[in-house]
């Protein structure tokens, strides 16, 4: 027979009978690395949003006599093959490089989360079907779908973004569904049900806020993947169309420069992609880590 260690009252107080929220402390659990990553991402977003307004240099102004010229006063990064200012192109390119992924993430996260929550709550055949489909489509290469879409309609970011949104939804749905199922199995959900709250209310006001960290983590990671996929598409010439500046386009255009011995365009644009995706991935990792209950 066991030894009751503490009065019964203590045991009752620690059981989660009421709905709970995990908040506040996660800020400190991001860690230094997480905050640095967040800062980097914020800077990139700010530059993309405000840079073109602040910068006066025209990214599209061609001046062939300046082709591949290095840094000179007023043009700190030099020029590309057609004499266009690199810094201006990179800053303007940030917009197209980031807006696409933002749309993809917004749509796929909302759709995926909605489907996941519905499946986790309703259960039954619907849930089984959702589980099967999301399992099969989980790692499906979005780029293929984007290519198919582009071939049906026309090259461009919009078409690709829609296709990617569709292909990322199962990825989001699978992860969110698994988190929602875990949350749903907790005692407080049953308690709320017994108290007479409707399913919709329980899901939206209790389950969703408690798995929000997971949703944010998935969205952050999806942003990185979408950025890569869209930039890759632009690289092949089927996404953002030249002469518009976009990091993916610039990597492709810069290949001629590399062969001629001027790698700046490709490497700067590629470097920005790597830094942004790296920071986003790291941030997503850290956010996900904050949802782990300390042992």
């Amino acid at each position: 027979m066991s030894v009751p260690a503490a009065p019964v009252a203590d045991a009752v107080a620690t059981a989660p009978v009421t709905a709970r929220r995990r908040s506040g402390r996660w800020v400190s659990r991001l860690g230094i690395g997480g905050w640095v990553a967040l800062a980097v991402v914020t800077v990139v977003l700010l530059v993309a949003a405000l840079g073109p307004l602040v910068l006066s240099t025209d990214p599209d102004e061609v001046n062939l006599s300046y082709g591949y010229v290095g840094p000179i006063p007023g043009h700190p990064l030099g020029f590309d093959g057609e004499g266009r200012d690199l810094l201006a192109r990179l800053i303007h390119g940030a917009r197209t490089a980031l807006i696409g992924p933002a749309i993809v993430v917004a749509v796929s996260t909302v759709l995926g989360t909605a489907i996941a929550l519905a499946a986790a709550w309703v259960g039954g055949v619907f849930d089984t079907v959702v589980a099967r489909v999301t399992d099969a489509m989980f790692a499906f290469p979005g780029l293929l779908l984007a290519l198919l879409a582009v071939s049906l309609f026309s090259p461009g970011v919009t078409v690709a973004a829609v296709a990617l949104s569709i292909s990322y939804t199962p990825y989001t749905a699978r992860i969110v569904r698994s988190a929602a199922l875990k949350e749903r199995s907790l005692p407080y959900v049953a308690a709320l049900g017994v108290q007479g709250f409707t399913g919709g209310r329980i899901v939206l006001r209790h389950i969703l806020p408690n798995i929000l960290i997971t949703v944010v983590a998935v969205a952050t990671l999806s942003f990185g993947y979408a950025l890569i996929d869209l930039a890759a598409l632009s690289f092949t010439g089927l996404g953002v169309q030249p002469p518009q500046s976009d990091w993916g386009v610039m990597v492709a255009e810069g290949v001629n420069g590399i062969i001629a011995g001027y790698p700046q365009e490709s490497l700067f644009a590629g470097g920005l992609i790597v830094i942004t995706v790296g920071a986003v991935n790291f941030l997503g990792d850290r956010i996900e880590a904050t949802s782990e209950v300390p042992g």
Binding site: M1, S2, V3, P4, A5, A6, P7, V8, D10
Partner: protein, 331 residues
């Protein structure tokens, strides 16, 4: 007569959230060959840590000080072949949750024969024969069939018997049983306990038996040590623990045990069990002790012999009557 196992002044610190924290403080116990010692305590008392220290299974980063001697050898300094021999023929550990402690992707037979094939270099056939015999010893008759099954196909009780059989396979001198029945349901508990007890006595093995159940320790062990917050607070013959507690904590444990005949309210020990690094100066139990006096918070009491056993209570003599009168509080 030198004891088989001698633990002297064992102090262990573990890294917790980046800092070293004390979990065991001056633990000293002795176990003679063939003798069974129970270690009783709540969570955080350090009882599991003691067993792990003896078995050389502390997590990386642990700081261990003190002395552990097994058959004269310095356990803490063993390495290489000597360490392997200690683990395969000296002590054998039985863990609490068999499902977590047996590799789920290998067969039961693989688990049972692994030690035999590795250390005694027996052939698979020979090892299998021995294993089937061991399974019969623990009450599993269709051993040959069970050997081909995977752990998830067996119930918790069966799995724990398999664990016991595996421990016996090495023919150890001493068993380290870390709450072997806690994870099982009550009926299975008594079955498994009976098997363990019988086999141990039959084979004359010593045992250190970790549990939170005072009565259980009393049933299978000759002597029992009671631990609290990383220290041993009492050691006594098991039979006398109930009738003659030498420490207020033990008294508290005994009184808190529900008795089917009793109709009075349970007397619980106020407060929460603490780990070694959470207690302040002085006696570790002082904060929760009903006999607390000023002297209890100023000095750490030593473990001293008294009244046929050992106690860490400074006021043991003063409160002797109240300790002995615990029977009056119950039904």
């Amino acid at each position: 007569m030198t004891a088989l196992l001698q633990v002297d002044g064992l102090r262990v610190h573990l890294p917790v959230e980046g800092r070293l924290r004390r979990v065991l403080h001056e633990v000293s116990i002795e176990v003679a060959a063939g003798e069974a010692l129970g270690i009783v305590g709540e969570s955080g008392s350090g009882k599991s840590m003691t067993a792990r220290a003896i078995g050389r299974l502390l997590p990386a980063g642990a700081r261990v000080e003190g002395d552990i001697r097994f058959g004269g050898a310095d356990v803490l300094r063993l390495s290489g072949d000597a360490l392997r021999r200690y683990r395969s023929g000296g002590v054998a550990m039985i863990f609490q949750d068999p499902r977590a402690h047996i590799n789920p992707v290998r067969t039961v037979g693989d688990f049972l024969t692994e030690g035999l094939r590795t250390h005694q270099r027996l052939s698979r056939k020979a090892a299998t024969r021995i294993a089937v015999g061991l399974l019969a010893d623990v009450g599993i008759d269709d051993g040959a069939h069970r050997m081909t099954q995977f752990p998830h196909e067996l119930s918790g009780g069966l799995l724990q018997r398999v664990m016991i059989a595996a421990a016996l396979a090495a023919e150890p001198l001493m068993l380290l049983a870390d709450e072997p029945t806690t994870a099982l349901d009550v009926t299975t508990q008594s079955e498994v306990m009976a098997i363990l007890d019988r086999l141990r006595r039959e084979r004359g093995m010593a045992m250190v038996f970790i549990t939170h159940d005072l009565e259980l320790a009393g049933a299978v062990c000759d002597r029992t040590a009671v631990m609290y917050a990383g220290s041993i607070v009492e050691q006594n013959a098991s039979a006398r623990l109930h009738s003659d507690p030498l420490h207020p904590y033990t008294q508290g444990l005994v009184q808190a045990r529900p008795d089917i005949a009793s109709t009075t309210r349970l007397v619980a020990i106020p407060g929460q069990p603490m780990s070694a690094y959470e207690v302040g100066n002085g006696c570790p139990f002082a904060a929760r002790c009903r006999y607390r006096a000023d002297v209890c918070t100023t000095q750490v009491p030593p473990l001293r012999p008294w009244h046929g056993g050992w106690t860490r209570c400074l006021r043991a003599e003063e409160i002797a009557d109240q300790l002995a009168a615990q029977g009056a509080n119950r039904g």
